[in-house]
């Protein structure tokens, strides 16, 4: 299957990319260390543990302690990764992340696993849908949500190589792979996957694949050319790419496996409102907790598939064409550079 130039290369969980990336980092740098939180086999820090047992510390079910021990290690010149489920690696230790990690501004890297609704049967307690909004407000924090296996691998390596705190969000279930080892990845850079000028779909995580599907359907069914952007770094957000997309397309759809409040959608809305206001439609979980079910079933139930992106795109286009306040449609992008 080829979709606007992207091929489905199989399915694999992003957590495997995280685990693989950690081992590669460990091979390159002997000061990379990993802390386990009793779910090493779930978040795939087990790969690192097997390969470098002397650089792995089991901390047990104690996320506050693990996060802060990581700070002590970082203050001693190490690059510690601590990984647990996002439900616990971003909330149980929220105070520790704010003060000990971000205020100290140290090289602590958090791997937030089993994120989002696609955890599936474990249910609402384990389906973190809120952490992006919290983490995004922490000064010094870098926040990455990879879209597939390869990107998770690259994001993990890049997080280890950058200076300062970072959080990588990844998931449990196998999701489409469509980027390759050669696809470029850079922290802070949103990547245009498909060019188009009628609506910009900006997605993150596993919703990027849904965005590609939606763009394909928009093209096939309506002849609409959508621009698709993979916004894998939520912080620092790529202001230029997003503003350019707003200018060129005049309307935006955001899509994320997260509450519609405060996450990717919130970040995009901030950029667009400040630089070039255009209508935005938000695809995500609408202010509710999740629930048990199979991942794909939950994606449907909670409105996280290409279908919502597709209908939101039509709505965004309609709002724009009806004359969104403040919108002036001009095809010549160059004219808007100085706004």
């Amino acid at each position: 299957m080829n979709m606007l130039g992207y091929e489905l290369l199989g399915k694999k969980p992003t957590r495997h990319g995280f685990g693989k990336g950690l081992v590669e980092l460990g091979e390159r740098y002997d000061n990379v260390v990993v802390l386990g939180g009793d779910i090493t086999g779930s978040v795939m820090t087990s790969f690192f543990k097997e390969r470098f047992p002397e650089r792995f510390f089991s901390i047990g079910v104690a996320e506050q302690n693990a996060t802060t021990i990581a700070v002590g290690l970082a203050l001693s010149g190490k690059i510690p990764f601590f990984s647990s489920y996002s439900a616990f690696a971003a909330f149980r230790n929220a105070d520790q992340l704010r003060i000990s990690v971000c205020y100290n501004n140290v090289n602590v890297k958090i791997g937030g696993g089993h994120s989002g609704i696609t955890v599936g049967p474990d249910g609402a307690t384990h389906q973190s849908l809120e952490e992006l909004s919290f983490l995004r407000t922490l000064p010094n924090m870098t926040l990455i949500v990879p879209c597939d296996y390869q990107e998770a691998r690259k994001a993990t390596i890049a997080a280890g190589e950058m200076i300062g705190p970072a959080y990588i969000r990844f998931g449990r279930s196998a999701v489409p792979m469509f980027t390759t080892e050669d696809t470029s990845f850079e922290i802070g850079k949103a990547q245009m996957l498909v060019d188009g000028n009628e609506v910009a779909i900006i997605a993150t995580g596993l919703l990027v694949w849904e965005a590609l599907t939606a763009a394909d359907e928009l093209q096939k069914r309506k002849g609409i050319k959508a621009k698709v952007i993979n916004c894998s770094t939520i912080k620092p957000i790529d202001v230029k790419t997003i503003t350019d997309a707003a200018i060129e397309c005049g309307c935006i759809v955001t899509a994320e496996e997260h509450q519609v409040h405060g996450g990717l959608g919130g970040a995009i809305a901030e950029v667009v409102t400040k630089n070039y206001p255009v209508p935005i439609e938000f695809v995500g979980v609408k202010d509710s907790f999740g629930g048990s079910g199979e991942p794909e079933e939950l994606m449907e139930k909670f409105g996280l598939t290409w279908k919502e992106i597709y209908s939101s795109a039509l709505k965004a286009i309609e709002r724009r064409d009806k004359g969104f306040i403040g919108y002036r449609k001009i095809k010549q992008v160059e004219n808007f550079i100085d706004i």
Partner: protein, 290 residues
């Protein structure tokens, strides 16, 4: 009020018990002076733990070099009870890490002496930002872990917590892990003044017995009178021995202290946890601290 600081510094070497009193007095006077200028901040705790901090920094128990604060073989101190920073700032200044004069800037805009310690200001001698109780002890565990298992050196890590602070559950996560990893290079000091903001620790939420709790987490526990210099010296000597035993335990020194020690109207009064002296009170306190 005109407040002056002399620029006397003290060296770090083994001393007889009676030699510490003069240094401790200087530190207590600094605390009063910096707080009256700051017009806010914590008086009681810093005055209460001054004797212990004095022995730690000026008794030859911690290796450091004020000329080279980042010296890679230094021992490290993490102030888990971040609000006690007035005593740390004074001790660091008197050890020669930065000019004593700078104590005048406590809590002022742009100062390296933040209301709670912040390493973003690059204060020499300060190892970590703290202020949310129950975290510094875990940072210290991480440092000790790094020293013992990764860098395999003989550096030591000290951390100071309040007795109210240990009501935080995360403190016990840290204690559990220190015992688990046999961090013989870690020394946890508990400032046991039985005071916290709302009242007496044993009334607000009793954490007693403190020693048995740390023992249960596989610490070697030393109970001392935190104002008896001989006992403080013996405790740090004991830790020094413990730290040489690779298969040994972490050390907890439970220092029984009095909040506000040295100033009659502050002594053992929890009301002095989080307020500075006003000018009149500062003058009175300095009269007593001679």
């Amino acid at each position: 009020m005109i407040v002056e600081f002399d620029d006397l510094t003290f060296d770090n070497r083994p001393r007889k018990a009676e030699e510490f009193a003069e240094i401790a007095l200087k530190i207590r006077r600094d605390i009063i002076k910096s707080l009256v200028l700051a017009k806010s901040g914590h008086s009681g705790g810093p005055l209460g733990i001054t004797d212990v901090m004095t022995v730690l920094y000026f008794g030859g128990f911690m290796h450091y070099d004020p000329k080279e604060p980042k010296w890679e073989r230094r021992d490290r101190f993490v102030l888990s009870a971040g609000h006690l920073c007035p005593v740390l700032y004074s001790v660091l200044a008197r050890a020669g890490f930065f000019p004593v004069e700078e104590l005048k800037t406590l809590r002022k805009y742009g100062s390296r002496l933040q209301g709670h310690p912040g390493i973003d200001m690059n204060l020499p001698g300060l190892e970590a930002s703290t202020g949310s109780l129950g975290q510094g002890i875990s940072i210290a565990v991480g440092m000790a872990l790094s020293d013992k298992y990764l860098d395999k050196n003989d550096r030591k890590v000290f951390t100071l917590t309040g007795d109210g602070e240990i009501q935080e559950g995360s403190v016990w996560e840290a204690a559990m892990s220190a015992g688990n990893f046999k961090l013989n290079n870690l020394c946890v000091i508990v400032d046991n003044n039985d005071c916290q903001i709302d009242g007496r620790v044993h009334e607000v939420m009793s954490i007693y017995p403190i020693d048995k709790k740390f023992e249960a987490f596989n610490f070697d526990v030393i109970n001392i009178d935190g104002h008896d210099f001989s006992e403080i010296i013996d405790a740090f000597n004991q830790f020094n021995m413990n730290s040489k035993n690779q298969t040994g335990k972490p050390t907890a020194i439970i220092a029984k202290t009095f909040m506000g020690k040295g100033v009659s109207f502050m002594e053992d009064k929890y009301e002095w946890h989080g307020i500075p002296p006003n000018e009149e009170q500062a003058i009175q306190a300095l009269k007593e601290l001679v």
